[in-house]
Structure formats: C-alpha cells, structure tokens
C-alpha cells in the first residue's frame, strides 16, 4: 500500500567502492517487482539504503512519499514499521527461541514489552504461531533459533516479517536457502498478499525460472546501475543474459 520512489541514488562505501550509481525508479502501491543482478551488483546495498541502514551518498528514497534519507532514527520508526525486510542472512537473534524471534516482528506495532513471550498478550502469541504456521514451522516454535537448519532459519525470518503486517515488503533473496517446494510456497505467499491486501513487494531473486514465473515487472542492476526496468513480457532473453556478463574490472572492485 506504500509507494517506493528511488531518486538519483548513489552509494560509495567508505572503502571507496561505488556500489550504487544514480538509481532511479518508482514502485507503485500494490505492485510486485523482482530485482535481479549479478553478485555484487548492489542489490542488498540498495535495500539497505532504502530504510537508511546505509546513508546514501547522494539522492534520496521516498516511501509512501516520505523521504527516509534525512530522518532521525526516531522519525524513521513509523516508516520502518510499515516496511517488512527479509535480510539476506536472516539476522535472527540466535540464542532466543524461534517463537520469540517471530514475536519481535511486532516490536514496531506493539509496545516493546508486549513482544516478550512471557508477557505478550494472547492474540499476539497466536498471531506469531500463525505466522510460523504459514512458513510451515509451527512445530519448531520452542526451538532455539540457532538449532534450525539454514532453510528453516530463512523461514523464521519470513515469519517475523509477516508478523509485522508490513505495507511494503523488501525481501532479499527470500528463497535462496529454501527447497523448491518451500520456495514456491513463499513466493506464492508473497504474491498472494500483494493481490489480496494490496501490498507492495520488491524481491531480490537469483532463480531466473521463478523470476520469470512470478515477475510482472523486472528491475535489474549491473555494476551498481539500473539497466533493466520493464515488464517481464517485453523482456528479451538477451537482455537477461547480458546482466550476468562479466562486469568490467574497473567498476567491480573498490579501493
């Protein structure tokens, strides 16, 4: 339900590496977009810049019309609340239970104290169980997060995002560690809520078959530049292949 606008976004890391170079695009509310790009093309950096985990070097990002670039941590909160992020490396709190990790998804929408298992209201607890159930992990609620398999951990991260009731989902390779069936289920889940609840979803993917199947609109980065922004149906194979051609040496490495 929130739009996403990226304007002239560039990011140079402190080590001199230019990860993003003047990116411009807009995602409308209710759109589901797939973001492609070779390893190191800047996809994760782009995601992190959107909610200001990386301060862009130039340019700005507007979420629901509000610029995230210049806000204080406190001002960012209401925006971040509406943005559900699935991190590439999951970022679970390892020594807590799976259930507690999912409950933390409600940190933005509920009072902090209510997200602690021992005090959380019944509805929130059920909601967390449902979120876990949607990714097929309800039986694992009691486990410590680091006693799960890789794919299970990724699903917990997705459940945590669902718990947040986001209006805009940024999913960084959400199915990389999932088995084919689970991967499809998660994609279905995301696309369903886009259509049912009108969410906006941007998902990074490396699986071309899934991208082609689910994608309506495709964005693609190459060496930090946005090189594709078009409908999947008008996209030719050649352009896709070009994406993954060896980037030039100059652009690839940092200082």
């Amino acid at each position: 339900m929130r739009s996403l606008q990226v304007k002239n976004l560039s990011k140079v890391y402190p080590n001199g590496n230019q990860a993003l170079n003047n990116i411009n695009f807009t995602v409308n509310p209710g759109e589901a977009v797939i973001l492609l790009g070779h390893n190191g093309s800047g996809k994760s950096t782009l995601f992190r810049s959107m909610i200001n985990f990386e301060t862009p070097t130039t340019g700005e990002v507007l979420i629901g019309g509000q610029s995230t670039t210049s806000l204080s941590r406190r001002q960012l909160r209401p925006i971040r609340q509406k943005v559900g992020m699935v991190f590439q490396n999951f970022n679970l709190v390892h020594n807590l239970s799976v259930f507690q990790n999912v409950l933390f998804g409600a940190l933005g929408t509920s009072k902090t104290i209510q997200t602690f298992n021992w005090i959380a209201p019944k509805e929130l607890r059920f909601k967390a169980m449902e979120a876990l159930d949607r990714v097929g992990l309800s039986e694992f609620a009691k486990r410590r997060a680091d006693e799960l398999s890789g794919g299970q951990q990724q699903r917990v991260a997705i459940a945590r995002m669902l718990m947040q009731d986001p209006e805009l989902v940024l999913a960084d390779e959400p199915i990389a560690s999932l088995d084919p069936k689970a991967g499809r289920e998660v994609m279905d889940l995301l696309w369903d809520i886009v259509h049912e609840r009108g969410l906006t979803v941007v998902s990074i993917l490396h699986q071309m078959d899934i991208a082609k199947e689910y994608g309506e609109r495709i964005l693609a980065l190459k060496d930090g530049e946005l090189v594709i922004d078009q409908d999947i149906h008008t996209l030719n194979e050649r352009a896709l292949n070009d994406l993954y051609h060896q980037p030039t040496t100059k652009q690839r490495a940092g200082a």
Binding site: N89, T112, T115
Partner: protein, 269 residues
C-alpha cells in the same frame, strides 16, 4: 598461466604487511622505549632469584598448617562481606547497564554523550576507594551502607566499561533486523543487544561480585568489618597461618561463584 595473467594477479595481491599508520608507529616506539627502560630498571638478576628460592620455603612454612581456630568468627565475617558485596554489586550492575548503553557507539549515536559517559566512568575508577569511602562515610556514616555505596561505585567503574566494550562488539545484524520492524531503541536493546551480550554480562557481573568479596580495603575503611579486614589484620600481624585459612575460605567462595558463572553462561551462549 600467461605472464599477463600473473601480472594481473600480483597487482591485486595484498601486500604482506600494511604499513601501519604513523600514529601506530609512534605509539609503538614510545611503548617499546618505556618497556626497555622498565626492564633495565627492574635489575633482573638470576643469581638473586636462585638464592631467594631457598628463603621461600621458610616463608611458606609459616603459613602451614592453616589455622582453623577462629573459623567461626571468620565465617561470620565472610557472610557479612557476602551480603554487602551482593547488595553492592547487584545495584552496581543494574546501574552499569544503562550507563554502558550510553557509552557504546552502537546504542548511543551521539559522540559527546558517549565521551562524557565514558569519562565519568573512568573518573569513578580513578578516584581511589579511600576517597569514595571518605565521601560516603561523611554522607551516610560508618557501617555497611557506606561500604555498599563504595562497592556500587567500584562496580560501575568496572562493569559499565566492560559491558560497553562487549556491546560494541555485538554484530549489528540482529539489531538492524529489529530496527527494521520499527522497534524503539528500548526494543532493539532488550530484543537484540541484551540477549547477545547476556553471557558476557553474567561473567563480568559475577567477577565484579567476586572482586567485591575479595576487596579488603573498602569495608575496612568504612568500619563495616568483613573478611578482607580480617585477612589484612592477620597478614599485617604476621599470622600467616590464619591468613591462609581465610584465603582458603575466600577461594572456596570464588570457585563457587566461578562455577555458577560458567553454568549460567553455558546455558545461554
């Protein structure tokens, strides 16, 4: 592999050593200078060491067998110390946590706040126990309370610093994940920072507790008695056999605390 390729690879190959920044060099040279000067002053002589070993036997003999005659009164002094130390470190640790959060770069983005907090903590450590004891004796009189307050200050000086260092070492991933949900600072801290730091906090706190029990000086100064005073008296009156008994008693407590510490930590690491 052709020559060109080899060239390319060695172009990208990191140097064996990064030239350390000038500051580091200067620091190193200064430290080495002090070190050498210190070693020279220390006047190492191995003949002396050899002779000394003989005398050591005599000294150690003074302490054996440990004298358990006063066990009962010493034991009650130990209990007394234990209580005071427990209350003091408990409050100290509770205060250390927020202070540590104010002193850490990943929980407090405002550099001046951090610098000020850290300096205060350092000052708390640098001001000697005697001064704190005097201040609290003046403020609240002789007795356990002054001792507790001094221990609180001691604990903050120690724990706040170590908590803060640990907090800064915590990987930022999970905190960011919680921030991304729109969590408040309090939420991020209690959801990601505290769980990750918990094992270390337990270890440090229990060390502070152990330290408070061992610390001979504080309680004596404020007339609160305790095991440390007994030990000091025994030593300064050369009653080494009694001193040994007290040391053994304290050691038992210390080892027990260590055990508890490692049990708790094992559960949560």
């Amino acid at each position: 592999m052709n020559n060109w390729n080899e060239q390319r690879l060695s172009d990208h190959m990191p140097k064996r050593m990064k030239r350390p920044p000038t500051g580091a060099w200067i620091l190193f040279i200064i430290a080495a200078g002090f070190m050498i000067s210190g070693l020279i002053n220390a006047n190492l002589s191995f003949t002396r060491l050899y002779e000394g070993l003989f005398n050591m036997g005599n000294f150690v003999a003074l302490a054996f067998p440990p004298d358990f005659a006063n066990l009962q009164s010493i034991f009650s002094a130990l209990v007394e110390t234990f209580e005071i130390a427990l209350v003091g470190t408990a409050f100290g640790v509770m205060l250390s946590l927020p202070i540590a959060l104010l002193a850490s770069s990943n929980t407090t983005p405002y550099a001046p706040v951090r610098t000020i907090t850290r300096s205060i903590v350092s000052a708390m450590r640098t001001i000697p126990d005697l001064i704190w004891a005097l201040i609290f004796v003046i403020a609240v009189g002789l007795g356990p309370l002054a001792g507790i307050l001094t221990i609180v200050v001691d604990t903050i000086g120690f724990c706040a610093r170590f908590f803060s260092e640990r907090i800064e070492e915590i990987k930022k991933g999970p905190s960011q994940a919680l921030q991304a949900t729109g969590a408040s600072n309090f939420g991020v801290i209690s959801g990601a920072i505290l769980p990750a730091g918990f094992p270390s906090f337990v270890g440090t706190s229990l060390f502070a507790f152990e330290k408070a029990i061992r610390s001979a000086v504080i309680l004596g100064l404020v007339g609160a008695g305790g095991i440390g005073v007994e030990l000091n008296t025994a030593m300064s009156l050369r009653m080494f056999d009694e001193a040994l008994m007290i040391i053994i008693l304290i050691l038992i407590v210390v080892l027990t605390v260590e055990q508890i510490s490692s049990r708790i930590r094992k559960k949560v690491i």
